[in-house]
């Protein structure tokens, strides 16, 4: 056994290495052990080769904006979805769309067992991003023109945006050869709350999958002081506040509507609709004064407590009649009073012919017990009408449909409201994409 040679097995025990910047002498801490490929000096912004024990200077960039401060300081540890991660790097990137510069921040997170993870932040919107282990399925034509969709792990993602991303500020450690001015074509596909992105650099395409996170979740994960910046606008993969599935709501609504129709049909079929009285009365102004009111023949209402329909027909022609009715129970004396008007007017004006009212009227009295009844009628007739004959029909047990109308509207309103909220949210989302919805509402926002 040769002495003095350290055994090879028994791994070296790396720890955060203390080094100094060759340019300014500031202390450099390497947090991601051997994974760091480049490290950026926090004080002079030299981009250094982390693989070189002497930290050769790779690039020196002017930090034009000294105010770029990571919201999560480098070295902060947090538990992200069950795994501890340490923030080791930070970069700011921007893209220009129609002359407007949009900037966002990316954090590089590290765990010695699970590897690298990323967080991105734009206007208070966060994403937890990891590199795809499985190849997404994209129409190969996408390499030249934006594909409409991409498939990943059995889910379909819609193309959102393709933009040139440029790195303009870096800090800390990177698992790749990062440089200020680094340029990539980033293509985003969304399936909220997830975002599938491809980054195309000179010779490689990297796919990543992100999941939307709220600022307060990030603050909780990393135990950050204060409150996170309020998100502004709607982000590409931000989950809609309308958590319910709009399609499912309409399916449920349709099911209820069918149920109501069946209920209506059933009650309509089961209703007896039994005519119990039909009488025609003559009104003659000449002898009207003697008898202002009169009573009908007696009639029987059978069955249990049920509805009674009173129909009035009068051949009025640019006149009106008004009938004060009372349905009176012979046995108990209980009375139901109601007044009905029959009026029909028509004529011509500058807009053409018009009509108002009709020659028939119908009313349903609910919950009338069985028994013997008669109608008391007190007519009031248009003074310009000398005489008229009118017919009164009494029908026992008719179905009532008004309640179904109320139920229908009560179901329709929330469905409409939810759909409208979902629609306006999706509109805001897609208005920021390469496929903005039409300016006029009502049309579909994009083809699926």
């Amino acid at each position: 056994m040769s002495a003095g040679v350290p055994p090879l097995s028994g791994p070296p025990r790396p720890q955060a290495k203390g080094l100094n910047c060759p340019k300014c002498g500031a202390a450099i801490v390497l947090r991601s052990f051997g994974q760091a490929v480049t490290v950026v000096c926090a004080s002079c912004h030299c981009v250094l080769d982390a693989k070189d024990p002497n930290l050769a200077i790779l690039q020196q960039f002017e930090a034009i904006t000294h105010d770029v401060k990571p919201l999560i300081p480098l070295g902060t540890r947090g538990k992200l979805r069950g795994t501890d991660f340490e923030v080791v790097g930070f970069q700011r990137r921007h893209c220009k769309i129609e002359g407007i510069t949009y900037s966002w921040h990316e954090y590089i997170l590290f765990n010695p067992f699970k590897g690298i993870r990323y967080l991105s932040e734009y206007n208070g919107h966060w994403n937890d991003i990891s590199i795809c282990k499985t190849l997404p399925n994209v129409d190969r034509a996408f390499l030249n023109s934006p594909a409409s969709s991409a498939g990943y792990l059995g889910e379909s993602y819609r193309h959102f945006q393709t933009a040139d991303a440029n790195t303009d500020f870096v800090l800390g450690e990177f698992p790749w050869q990062v440089r200020v001015g680094e340029h990539a074509v980033v293509t985003d596909f969304v399936h909220p709350p997830r975002i599938l992105s491809s980054e195309k650099m000179a010779n490689e395409v990297t796919w990543s999958i992100g999941e939307y996170m709220y600022g307060r979740e990030i603050w909780e994960c990393f135990k950050l002081p204060g409150t996170p910046p309020e998100p502004t606008g709607v982000f590409a993969n931000q989950p809609s506040p309308v958590t319910a599935n709009v399609t499912a709501i309409w399916v449920t609504f349709a099911a209820f509507a069918v149920f109501l129709l069946v209920l209506m049909a059933t009650f309509d079929m089961r209703a007896k609709k039994e005519p119990v009285l039909q009488q025609t009365y003559q009104y003659n102004r000449a002898d009207a004064k003697s008898e202002a009111s009169f009573v009908s023949d007696e009639f029987a209402l059978g069955g249990g407590t049920s509805t009674v329909q009173v129909k009035t027909y009068a051949p009025v022609n640019n006149h009106w009649i008004y009938l004060n009715y009372a349905l009176i129970n012979l046995d108990t004396g209980q009375a139901w009073d109601f007044g009905r008007e029959v009026s029909y007017y028509h004529g011509y004006d500058s807009d053409g012919s018009w009509t108002e009212g009709k020659q028939t009227d119908s009313v349903v009295i609910p919950s009338v017990p069985a028994g013997h009844y008669y109608l008391r009628v007190e007519p009031e007739i248009d003074p310009s009408l000398p005489r008229i004959a009118y017919t009164v029909d009494v029908i026992r047990d008719v179905p009532v449909f008004g309640i179904y109308g109320i139920a229908f509207v009560a179901l329709l309103l929330p469905a409409l409201l939810i759909s409208w909220r979902a629609y306006t949210f999706e509109r805001s989302r897609w208005s920021e994409s390469d496929h903005p919805p039409m300016q006029l509402s009502g049309s579909s926002e994009d083809d699926d």
Binding site: V5, Q15, G34, N111, F113
Partner: protein, 210 residues
């Protein structure tokens, strides 16, 4: 399982083959690369100390692949212009040999496979598709790399090959393939990406502060 025992021809230290089909090992003490000529060992070279690296895996790390248990018996450390990665040689409990690669903590398990008409390195480009085992594989990256070091037991003889081309391929179902151009005949490895947690690794390295 029988474990062939021999002594290092260089320093005389005891060499135990944990995997009975190992062709090569590295003496733990003097770092001589030893080739097995059943069971006399021949020293063919010496490796420099492995540079410190950050793989959480080490020789004797145990894990699971599906319902098979495995133990790590050796490794090759490769280096390329963006860093390095480890190919850990693992022995499954059914006696087969496989590779567990760790590239910046992205893990994959692969097995040596056979397929006809493997393309020469010069004809492969990113985005190209190949079909093996009726799965469409797409070339995701081509990496020129070189050996940085070896450790433990390996299923083939390590020579001082300088630059080697590796072609990584992926499928839409999470399968993974490597074309290894170390030898005149390309070698194909087929496997799949693995989540760290699914490998159920034990005997890992510890990291200070973690």
């Amino acid at each position: 399982m029988t474990q062939p025992v021999a002594n290092c021809p260089n320093c005389g230290a005891k060499i135990v083959f944990r995997w009975s089909s190992s062709v090569q090992t590295v003496c733990e003490y003097c770092k001589s690369i030893l080739v097995r000529t059943d069971v006399d060992l021949k020293k063919v070279g010496q490796v420099a100390d492995l540079p410190p690296d950050s793989s959480p895996i080490q020789i004797n790390t145990e894990g699971k692949y599906g319902n098979k248990a495995f133990v790590v018996v050796g490794r090759i450390l490769y280096e390329y212009d963006q860093g390095g990665w480890n190919e850990w040689h693992v022995m499954m409990n059914d006696g087969t040999s496989a590779w567990l690669s760790d590239a910046q903590n992205e893990y994959a398990v692969s097995f040596p496979s056979k397929a006809p008409n493997l393309p020469p390195a010069a004809q492969v480009h990113v985005g190209q598709q190949f079909t093996w085992n009726s799965q469409p594989y797409t070339v995701s990256v081509i990496t020129p790399a070189h050996y940085r070091g070896v450790e433990g037991e390996l299923p083939f003889q390590y020579w001082d090959k300088t630059n080697v081309t590796f072609v990584d391929l992926r499928t839409e179902s999470g399968k993974f393939a490597t074309l290894d151009y170390s030898d005149p005949e390309p070698a194909l490895y087929l496997g799949e990406s693995m989540e760290f947690d699914d490998l159920k690794l034990k005997n890992l390295r510890s990291f200070e502060g973690w």
